[in-house]
């Protein structure tokens, strides 16, 4: 462990792997510090406000991050003018790895950057990720919830996002949960948390599978059955003036597959001023007839109201032919589901029809790009990914693993920041918080029983802070719309900006304030809330005597090398107002970290 002047965290149980992680991090930090010092000597820039106690020879490994630095108390012992310009010196390969991990995981850490760099290629890392076992949430939710307590599935999700190795799968599953949306703001689902967790795990399991299979599992999951009222949808009864329910039929077309308008492979709806609808109201009604006759499994009858068996919401729905409309249905592109098909065959015929529609790859690919990489992919980028969706190279359509891999390895993902001013996206609030905890070794508070909490919000309510909590959007249209424009009437998109409201920005600012100043490893939690997750500032304190080293750490981890020069200079100027004693270095870290985390610049992922 690093120096801990205040040992009041003795009671905190650390995860078993933490020591190893810290050791790894120390190594990386040492490398970073050494590199920046080397740059100073090579580039002729004088580091005037700190002398490295380890000698500062510029030789890698010449300084141990745990060592105390000498303390000139902010004065310049040589009497020479202090440096006024901050210079970044990051390793290009580290930066490239950090950028990649921002897109593919819940945020880079010194350890994961080192791990990624130890692989032969990003592609090899992706292959390894795809092969990793799936981290799930249902077992934990069953063990820790009475089925109505919603906190457990959030805890399980956060543990996976923060600690589990299958980062890419978890990140893609979170993206899928924002396309195939369900939400336990629905009161019936609120009381079926095992089902909610099971739905999420289904997304995780299919994250690198085939879209067609995913679509069928989504369709038949009872949680979706409840959310879009497909469960117990009955064939028409003309005598009673009753029609089938159009809810699932409409949204499976609009949101889960083809969208409102005909699209070309570049993602454009044409003509721009009045695009052609991809389907008609009548076609919605035909699909509504298809999706009739599905009931919960494990119930005794179509009408049974006793839904108290939790497993009802974790096993796929089953057909009841008596309530299925067996007539023929005219679906998309003139395809007609013949009369007399069984409930299941009819459903499969309809999903096959949807799957073959040329829009599917466009809608799904573009949204996955937006969730992982950039809000405004170029038409060429979209077209390349749609090509992979339509054919993974081995003749398979809908291979999501191939799509994700292509999205991340595409030249635009890797180099878009160099040549495209519109490249990038705002980080999602949930992903940002996960990243901060990952990067700063967030550990549950001593009385939190292993559960993460923010200062003011439990994880199941952090939507009140940032407008986003897992599977908790206000409607099937997700937390934000994929076509939300930066400026009303403009053309450039930023879905996430839609939830960056004044209230959410203020609450987020205050959350990071509390995190940095009240809930860090030196906090005296006897006077504060011992259930709040604590971040470890010591690795930063160890390097904080060197402003450039500290800023380089932020730049690498929180900006992937994109911290703007003027911002860096501002922080550098601020740091120069503080000394370098242990207490002053701690102050340097607190103030600069807070400014970094709440800065507008840190919201941008490029």
């Amino acid at each position: 462990m690093l120096n801990r002047p205040d040992m009041n965290r003795n009671t905190v149980q650390k995860a078993p792997l933490t020591n190893e992680f810290v050791r790894l991090r120390n190594l990386v930090l040492a490398l970073l510090v050494a590199l920046s010092l080397q740059a100073c000597s090579d580039g002729g820039v004088v580091v005037g406000d700190v002398q490295s106690g380890g000698g500062g020879s510029g030789v890698p490994g010449g300084i141990q991050p745990g060592e105390e630095l000498s303390e000139p108390e902010g004065n310049n012992p040589t009497g020479a003018p202090p440096p006024t310009t901050s210079v970044s010196n990051l390793n290009a390969a580290d930066v490239a790895a950090s950028r990649f991990l921002n897109q593919a995981t819940f945020g880079p850490t010194p350890e994961t950057i080192a791990q990624l760099r130890s692989k032969p290629s990003f592609a090899a890392w992706i292959d390894e990720q795809i092969a990793l076992p799936v981290s799930v949430t249902e077992p934990y939710t069953r063990a820790n919830s009475n089925n109505s307590n919603g906190a457990a599935r959030h805890e399980a999700w956060w543990n996976n996002a923060l600690n589990r190795p299958d980062q890419l799968r978890q990140r893609v599953a979170f993206a899928l949960s924002q396309i195939f949306v369900v939400s336990d703001l629905d009161s019936l689902l609120a009381n079926n948390q095992y089902g909610m967790a099971s739905y999420y795990d289904m997304l995780s399991q299919n994250a690198f599978g085939n879209y067609r299979q995913l679509l069928e599992q989504v369709t038949l999951h009872p949680v979706m059955g409840v959310y879009l009222s497909m469960v117990r949808n009955e064939k028409a009864n003309p005598a009673e003036n009753i029609r089938p329910d159009e809810n699932f039929a409409r949204e499976v077309l609009q949101l889960f597959s083809i969208g409102l308008y005909e699209l070309n492979t570049r993602g454009e709806a044409l003509p721009l001023d009045n695009p052609r609808p991809a389907y008609t109201q009548n076609q919605v009604e035909e699909f509504a007839r298809v999706f009739t006759g599905w009931n919960y499994d494990l119930v005794t009858s179509w009408e049974a109201t006793n839904l108290g068996v939790p497993d009802i919401f974790t096993v796929p729905m089953v057909p009841d032919e008596r309530f299925h409309d067996t007539g023929s249905k005219t679906l998309l592109n003139g395809r007609v589901a013949p009369a007399g098909l069984s409930t299941r065959d009819d459903m499969r015929f309809a999903l096959d029809t949807i799957f073959q529609h040329p829009n599917v790859g466009v809608l799904i690919s573009k949204q996955l790009i937006q969730r992982l990489v950039t809000s405004n992919p170029t038409p060429e980028y979209i077209e390349r990914i749609v090509g992979v969706f339509n054919n993974n190279g081995a003749g398979e359509r809908g291979d999501l693993g191939a799509v994700v891999k292509a999205i991340l390895l595409d030249d635009e993902a890797r180099n878009g920041h160099l040549n495209n001013p519109d490249f990038g996206k705002l980080r999602e609030p949930v992903v940002r918080l996960a990243h901060v905890w990952r990067a700063l070794d967030g550990t549950p508070g001593p009385l939190a029983e292993g559960v993460h909490n923010t200062a003011n919000f439990v994880l199941s309510r952090i939507d009140e802070m940032g407008g986003q909590a897992v599977m908790q959007s206000k409607s099937v249209f997700n937390f934000y719309k994929p076509d939300h424009t930066i400026i009303a009437g403009g053309s450039r998109l930023s879905p996430e900006l839609q939830i960056m409201s004044e209230a959410n920005l203020a609450a987020t600012n205050n959350n990071y304030h509390h995190q940095v100043y009240r809930f860090n490893n030196r906090s005296n939690l006897n006077d504060d809330n011992p259930r709040v997750t604590i971040i470890d500032l010591e690795p930063l304190v160890a390097i904080a005597g060197d402003s450039n080293a500290l800023l380089d750490w932020y730049n690498l981890i929180f900006f992937s090398g994109n911290m703007p020069d003027d911002m860096r200079q501002s922080l550098f100027n601020y740091l120069a107002t503080l000394g370098v004693s242990d207490a002053e270095r701690f102050a340097r870290v607190q103030d600069s970290l807070f400014m970094v985390l709440v800065s507008p610049q840190a919201h941008l992922q490029r």
């Binding site: 202090p82 003036n241 089938p244 409607s475 930066i486 450039r492 839609q498 100043y517 100027n573 400014m595």
Partner: protein
Amino acid sequence: MRNTVDKEKRRLLKTLAALPMGAGISMLAGNGSAHAMGCDSAKSLVCIFLAGGADSFNMFVPGGSRYNDYRNSRRELAVAEADLLSVNDASQGSFGFNKQLPSFERLYRENRLTVLSNTGTLIQPTTKSDYLGTVALPQSLFAHNTQQKLWQTGAGIVSGSTSFGWGGAISSHAANCNGRIPVAPAFSMGGSTDWLAAANTNYISLNADVSVERMFGYDNISDWIPPRRLSGVGRHLEELIAQGQRSGNPLLNRAIASAMGRATNATASLHSAIGANPLPQMRYNGRNKLAKQLHLVAKLIASREQLGMQKQVFFVLMGGWDTHSDQLQRQPFLMNDLNEAVDAFQSTIDSINLSNSVTSFTASDFGRTLSSNGNGTDHGWGGHSFVFGGAVNGGRVIGDTPNYSTTNNQDDAGEEDGSFAGRIIPKISVSQYAATLSRWMGVSEGDLNNALPDLQNFTQRDLGIMRS
């Protein structure tokens, strides 16, 4: 003294940060012509958006001989005649409010609530044969997101220059009346909304579930940052925002920086204004999210003078109205919450004697199908809206009651095979509704024409909802 240049630069940056920020996307308020046309009296307008498509056909029901048609089309979803709160319209006879809406009935009887019958998105007056023919129809009828957007923008298509909301046209006018003040006169308690989107005026998005907090670190606010560091931290935070607003590309950087600038300004001003006007007399069930939003609205209305706002617009949102299933179980709870929120809000406005200068109205994605899907309803088109407040010429039903019959119904958009669908073609357009309310707020006819491009297609530009 380390560096005098730095200090001077910081001072300059601080000044920049205090100015209205960024072009276009972050104007704080208008150009200060407080005596401009339509600015004479203080007014506030409140949009209550019932998200998901409210089944308003079960909130306000025709009486007399038309009740049978209503019952026949709605079948098991029909509200029993005995459960209706009966009211009368001088020209159209008897109607009934759902029994979950007694405060609506009360306001109607007090002539302070008007029902706007069968209103919806339209590009031009549209008959059934128009619908089946080639007349231009609103884009993507029956889809939630597009119909919400068309309601809120008052346009027939979803993209392009018509993306600004008609609430935004009102807020632009309000900004002109208000002059230079630190906070935009438009507020959403329902998250991002197209209704308040405008070219040169922002709106402030607040969360009624949590109190309006000041932002720690700014303005010397923090009990945890030691005083000797606090002002430096705040100054540098403002500097970072100013840098973000100045940065060229990407646009995204400027947008998020401007949003933060607005957040710091707004939370500081609103925190103190709201604290001065807590309005504890507004009572409601703490779980009623709409009431919470309207409580915050009431506080901001009570703070009108303190905030320097002659005109204000508000957007509140209540979800859950997409009753595809279990409508008979779910809709009563929705209406009960709506009723309680409206009752508590209007009573509070009455209690602070601002009744005549505050008007509230409902809107929704669309009406729902008259026909049932077994235990719920699907996406329709036209539906009823409600307008209330002291300035409303109430106790009336404006617009023709739609035909509820399941046979040969010329108000029904119908199925492709000609059978009954129960999707009712609206008779009153959103443009007319919007123009009437905007005019009351003082928006000029010229600005109305710009904000509502299809208004020219309708002969009646004012529905006569308001007293004057």
